[in-house]
């Protein structure tokens, strides 16, 4: 059978989601952000929530998320996305409200906003990209940087005596009475992508059902920041990141 006979609309089994527009994404080759963007676009579309969704973009590599997913967005100051999402959801209780944040944004400068929004049980979904590094500013140490991991501000490896320990913020959030769903996923294989999508869907449904705060951590790679080929970054993530940040549900109520 010739490929021309296969390439027909009725035979399409996978393609770029409708809500991911044609703007070329600025992310580096192999960046996990792109996959997560696709999943968010797919879930919003499948839930039929395009006209009722407001996303909150972070400061960091995903600052331009609003250029790619075709919904209404607000761009937050660094770390403040959960505060902004709090107000959006409180003032518009029937909208789907989510934040999209990296580890520096969510777990360093925005720790207070993250903890308190979740502790208040705000009916928002937080998508948390944890790649253990500040990507946008050139690969500096993040709160989630692993012990011994080299970054541009810990060029001899993270020394926990000097810089403290990798912050497992999802574990903290899971302990809060206001959070209803905390899970850790990844997007490095097709199977992982499917699971991550289910997690995002559940977090978004929790927002609509007003069940409390949901946090989906995506353990991710930063091939450029880690100075590795994307496929090697995936392997390194499996060997090192998953040991510190094991995948699976931390809380599902």
């Amino acid at each position: 059978m010739d490929t021309k006979d296969i390439i027909k609309p009725e035979n399409l089994v996978y393609s770029k989601p409708r809500l991911l527009n044609d703007n070329p994404m600025h992310y580096c080759p192999g960046c996990s952000h792109g996959v997560v963007h696709k999943l968010i676009a797919e879930v919003i579309d499948e839930m039929g929530m395009e006209e009722q969704t407001i996303g909150v973009a972070p400061v960091g590599c995903a600052v331009f998320a609003y250029n790619y997913i075709d919904i209404d967005w607000q761009e937050a100051a660094h770390g403040r996305a959960p505060a902004i999402a709090t107000a959006i959801k409180r003032l518009n209780p029937d909208k789907l409200v989510f934040t999209y944040q990296g580890d520096g944004d969510l777990a360093a400068i925005g720790t207070a906003e993250t903890i308190h929004a979740c502790n208040r049980g705000e009916n928002i979904a937080i998508i948390f990209i944890n790649n253990g590094i500040y990507g946008m500013t050139g690969g500096q140490m993040a709160p989630t940087t692993l012990e011994g991991m080299v970054t541009s501000t810990c060029p001899y490896g993270r020394n926990v005596d000097l810089y403290g320990y990798p912050l497992k913020i999802s574990d903290l959030v899971a302990k809060l009475d206001g959070s209803c769903y905390v899970t850790r996923q990844s997007v490095h294989t097709a199977a992982a992508v499917k699971k991550a999508k289910k997690a995002i869907r559940q977090a978004f449904e929790n927002s609509m059902a007003k069940k409390g705060a949901s946090l989906v951590e995506i353990v991710s790679t930063c091939a450029s920041g880690w100075k590795m080929l994307p496929e090697n970054a995936n392997k390194w993530m499996e060997e090192h990141m998953f040991a510190k940040y094991p995948l699976g549900d931390l809380k599902n109520e």
Binding site: N11, V13, G30, H33, K38, A190, E231, N234
Partner: protein, 75 residues
């Protein structure tokens, strides 16, 4: 002979040649262009062994740039 037949269409200009689809493919269908590059200078992905494709879409799922469409027919 396989009971399904698939094929992959790569948006060459969106592709950044990250190779993740090549790694994800269970049937050794994809490869990066050894010489040709797109307008941005990336060696984009292409079907090196199109006959092997089973339309599983693993390549599509892991593609960070949404440049892959997958088609499948039952034979």
């Amino acid at each position: 002979m396989a009971k399904v037949k698939g094929t992959v269409v790569v948006n060459n200009e969106r592709c950044k040649g990250c190779n993740l689809c090549v790694v994800a493919c269970p049937a050794d269908v994809l490869a990066l262009q050894p010489k040709e590059v797109n307008d941005k200078g990336y060696h984009y992905a292409y079907m090196k062994n199109p006959d092997n494709c089973i339309g599983c879409a693993s390549c599509g799922y892991v593609c960070p740039d949404g440049c892959i469409s997958v088609y499948k027919v039952k034979l």
